[in-house]
Each structure stands twice: as C-alpha cells, then as structure tokens.
C-alpha cells in the first residue's frame, strides 16, 4: 500500500498532469476504440490493479484479461483499479484521463471469490457500459480415457464445478435453455445416443428424443419453446425441430449427407448447421419453420463445423479445419471469416464478446476462454480427463 501511494503523494499533481499531457492523444484514441467495439483486432484497455492479493487478485486478473484488459503500471493505465481484499473486497475505478471516479464499492456476503467476480462485472460495466461475464455459468463434458464421461456445470472460469450426471456412459453436447437452470444433452444411458432434458433445480430429467439411430446436438430456441437437433431416423443425420417437450417433431433438412451441430439465430428465425455439398463441408441455414436451405460461404476457412450464432445476432463463430483446427468468426450476414486462435467448438458468452472453446493438448481437450476482439486467451480450471463441448449459459 504505502509503496504504491507514497510516490504518488510525493510527486503530486505535476506527474499526473505530465502523464496526462503526454498520453492525451493516444488516450483519446484508445477511449474511442474501447467504447465503440465494432470490429476485430482491438487493443486491450490498459488498467492498473493495486491493493488486491491472493484469490481476489487472481480472479480479477483472470476476469479482466479475458474481457480485453491488459495490466500496466498505474502511471500508464487508462483506468486505475485499486482497493483491498482483506476480509472482504472493496474497490475503486478511476479514469485517469477524465479524472473521475467511475466506481467505488465494497462487497459483503458470499465468498471472497464471488465478491471478486461481482467487482469484476462492476468494473466491466463502469468502463465499457456492457454486462460482464464474471458471474456466468458453463456446461461441458468431462470424458475419461474409457470414452465414458459426465456432464458438468461450473462457473465460467471452471471453478465450482459439479457433475450433474452419474451415468458412467458416453455423454455429449450439453446445451442450455436460455434464461433457465435447465440443459439438454446427449447420453448413451439407454444404450443409444438419446437427448435428455434435465432440470437443474430439481434434478428431474426426461427423454426428449429417443428414436432409432442418432439423437444428438440439441439446441434450445432463444425463447426456450423449441429444440433443434440431429436425428438419423429418416436414413441419414438431418436437422429436426420439435417442441421443448419433444412433441410436434418436424424434419428441416433431408440431404443424404451428414448434418451436425445446429444453432439458432437470436431472433429464432433461422437454424444454422454444418453439412456437406458436393463432398465439401459447408455451413448452411434453414428457416426454423421449414424451407429451403441457404449456404453460408466461409471463404478462406475450409471445412467449417460447429457454428454458434452470437446472442446479439452479429457473428457466427465456428471451427475451421485446414491443417489443424481454428476458431473463426464471421459476420452473420455473410462476409470473410477471421481466424482467431487454434481450437474447436466455440460457444458465445451472453454478451457476445467472449468465446469458450476447446484446445487439444496431447491426447485430451482443455477448455479456454477467448476475448474475440483482442484475441486474449486463457485456459480455465481443468476438472479431469478430457474437458470439451462447452456451452455458455445465456
């Protein structure tokens, strides 16, 4: 504490003013960029972080790094974040250029970790005027070397993970119902890949799709009333849609090829998925109520699979397979994809800024989070075995 503040006190205003003058033009530019995030390749927002220790400091660093902040010395920071984590979290955010205190808050109750996440969200809100992701949840699968696995729920950073299945069978493709503590997933528990609905509050679950052949890749519509999925009951894996309870089944595609990984547009009008045309893997979309399939070209990003439409409707993230696998994003209305990092199976955060995805390390998968606009990426806490198929609760 003393070490940090004393020089400031001694140096006083001249130093601050000098720094302000020197960095003014650059600072203004950074402000413009960071407050108007419309494109990719944005520079991180430089902040300083002082006074926090242990778990709180770790949480703040992780949460802010994967939301596009970088850590610099106080005199180089656009925003100075300071406070303390002794007993409970209290913190303050000062805009060094506008010379104003954006946030001054203390937190009580729950755990220090939870307090730190809440403070991180308040920081993001104060600086970017957008909702942060620090208190969001993810679902994913944890697979052992036998091939069997379980579905897990955790905080977005992988902590507080809980297994919600105990079936000791192959599981796959968890998907949240938007705004609810409920998920769909695929399990081989009945001897066949079937789709289950699982209410996380009560633990009750029921079968949604249990047809002969493949039943997998459930995706709940934005309003939760419908579910898109892959069924092979018609003779090849196709996209089907039904009501949340499994009724009113309707076939949306009827190709001899294998469709996979359907996702919804946030207005509920379209279902985007991976398929093949003339032996080449492509992305396509089909009206959710039925209609003609439309190709979504991904120029420069070969073999696209695993699309996920951002909740704000602007982007489609997907996996491209050239030599290895890459995470790509492209404008949902069409355009040129941007390759972000090596990885697979991206899932958007609720604020459409961060992706969680899988990375192959040796013979297994680990989960990572990626700030799309700065490409800052970090692995989340590992559970065990191979952790994959992440789904961000929205």
């Amino acid at each position: 504490m003393k070490n940090y503040y004393l020089p400031l006190i001694k140096a006083g205003l001249p130093v601050l003013l000098a720094a302000f003058t020197v960095n003014f033009a650059c600072g203004q530019q950074e402000l413009t960029i960071s407050h108007d995030i419309t494109g990719l390749g944005v520079k991180p927002i430089p902040v300083s972080l002082d006074g926090f220790s242990g778990e709180v400091a770790e949480v703040l660093k992780f949460d802010l790094y994967v939301q596009g902040f970088s850590f610099v010395a106080p005199e180089a920071a656009q925003y100075q974040i300071s406070g303390s984590s002794a007993g409970s979290v209290q913190g303050r955010v000062v805009d060094r250029f506008a010379k104003s205190t954006l946030l001054a808050r203390s937190y009580t109750g729950a755990s220090l970790r939870r307090q730190a996440h809440t403070f991180a969200d308040d920081i993001v809100q104060a600086i970017t005027h957008k909702n942060g992701i620090a208190q969001t949840k993810i679902a994913f699968k944890v697979q052992s070397s036998t091939g069997n696995g379980e579905i897990y729920i955790a905080d977005f950073d992988g902590r507080n993970a809980q297994s919600i299945t105990h079936d000791a069978t192959i599981v796959a493709a968890p998907a949240w119902v938007p705004g609810r503590l409920a998920i769909y997933y695929t399990t081989y528990q009945l001897g066949n890949p079937d789709i289950f609905y699982h209410n996380l509050s009560t633990g009750q679950r029921h079968v949604v799709a249990h047809y002969s052949g493949l039943n997998t890749s459930a995706a709940a519509s934005p309003d939760g009333s419908k579910v898109a999925m892959i069924l092979s009951r018609s003779g090849s894996p196709d996209v089907w849609v039904c009501a949340a309870d499994g009724s009113n089944l309707k076939q949306l595609t009827a190709t001899p090829e294998d469709e996979s990984s359907p996702c919804w547009s946030p207005d509920g009008q379209w279902i985007c998925y991976a398929t093949k045309v003339a032996e080449r893997r492509v992305l396509a979309k089909v009206p959710a109520g039925g209609g003609a399939m439309q190709r979504i070209p991904t120029p420069g990003a070969p073999n696209p699979t695993e699309p996920d439409w951002s909740p704000d409707g602007k982007w489609i993230a997907f996996t491209s397979q050239a030599g290895g696998f890459d995470i790509c994003v492209m404008p949902a209305g069409g355009g040129t994809p941007t390759v972000l990092v090596a990885g697979e199976d991206p899932s958007w955060s609720p604020n459409s800024r961060t992706l969680i995805f899988t990375r192959r390390v040796g013979g297994r998968y680990v989960l990572s989070v990626l700030d799309v606009f700065t490409k800052q990426v970090k692995d989340i806490a590992r559970i065990s075995g191979s952790d994959s198929q992440p789904a961000w609760a929205r």
């Binding site: 406070g83 755990s111 001897g191 009951r233």
Partner: protein, 198 residues
C-alpha cells in the same frame, strides 16, 4: 489489522483526492451485499440426474417401432460382438462410402444373417480423431447407415438392423498416427441373439 485498515482507508482517501481532482461525480462507496454463504459457488447445489427407465419415461418416442426395430426389442437381445468381429469394415478419411475392397466382409455378414433368421444386427459406426466431436458423431452414424444400405442390397431386411454411432469416443487404437486412424475409421458388426427362453 486495525493499522492495516487505517492505512488502506488513508491511502484510498489520498488516492481519490489526487486522481480525481476535478471529479464531477464523487460518489460515496456503495455496498453490494451478496446472497449466499461463505464458499458457495455461483451455482447452488444442483440436482443431479435421476434414473430414467428405458421406454417408460415421458416423451419416450417410437415405442411402436419405426423404420428400424424399436430399441426395446434390441435391448432384450444378447450382444455377440465376437461372432462377426472378423468382418469389420474400414473407411477412407472423412468418407462414409463402402469401398469395393470391403464388400467381401459385408457379404460375410449378410451370409451370417441369412443362416440365422432369429439373429439381428447392430452396426457400430466409428471415426478417427481428426474431426470435431459432433461432426464425427454424425459421420459415424452415416457409416453405419451406409453399411445397413449395403446389407439391404444383399437382401438383408433392414428392419433387422440397428445402427449406433460412437463418433470418435471408442477408438480401437488411441495412438495419434495414420496407422491408428485407419483402424479407427470403421463399422463393427455385433450379432444380436434372442435371450434364451425369450
């Protein structure tokens, strides 16, 4: 501890006074009380999944049987993976086409089924690891369905055949090389016998 707190407060006050010179909106420190107990996660204790009985659960579909026989019928039969293990069919990379070189194996399976009219067949489609997970689950199913189609052309009633895809979840060789991948891109045939006394 007290001293530390005092120092913190002092430092805070100084920091604000310095950094926020000319601050238009000097808010007092707000307090955000968080619900929940110490060490509780963001998610409370979640309900773990309960047991689901085959076929009996709400929403279980196709009890009356569809294009292929219903699951229960097959669940009631005994799996015999050894009987047709010699006839496993292998596929080219990212392909569900049954190669000419594999046709003899398919014929052998058709012959085995024609000799035992009480037996049925489970075809397990598998992939190598070079593909995304759900893409491979679909590809494995398409491989199994391609083999069902090939057997159907040889006169096997498709209603005797059930397909299942394991994607890349059940490699026979977990190694990371072309030799292993070639072994893993496969369709396994599992003979299903009626249970004794059934």
């Amino acid at each position: 501890m007290k001293m530390m707190k005092l120092t913190c407060s002092l430092a805070f006050a100084l920091a604000i006074a310095l950094a926020a010179t000319g601050c238009r909106n000097h808010k007092p420190v707000g307090v955000t009380p968080l619900p929940g107990q110490q060490n509780s996660g963001l998610v409370g204790d979640l309900g773990a999944g309960g047991t689901i009985g085959a076929g009996g659960a709400a929403g279980a579909n196709e009890a009356g049987g569809g294009a292929t026989a219903a699951l229960d019928t097959f669940d009631g039969m005994t799996k015999d993976p050894a009987a047709l293990a010699a006839y496993t069919v292998h596929f080219a990379y990212d392909s569900a086409a049954v190669k000419k070189s594999e046709k003899a194996n398919v014929q052998s399976v058709a012959d085995a089924l024609s000799k035992d009219s009480s037996a049925k067949l489970l075809i397990e489609g598998n992939c190598d690891e070079r593909g995304t997970e759900e893409y491979n689950r679909s590809l494995g199913e398409r491989r199994a369905l391609a083999l069902r189609g090939a057997l159907s052309k040889l006169g096997v009633d498709p209603s005797r055949i059930r397909t299942i895809s394991y994607g890349k979840d059940k490699p026979v060789d977990p190694a990371n090389n072309e030799e292993a991948w070639a072994k893993n891109r496969r369709g396994d045939f599992v003979l299903l016998h009626p249970k004794a006394g059934a």
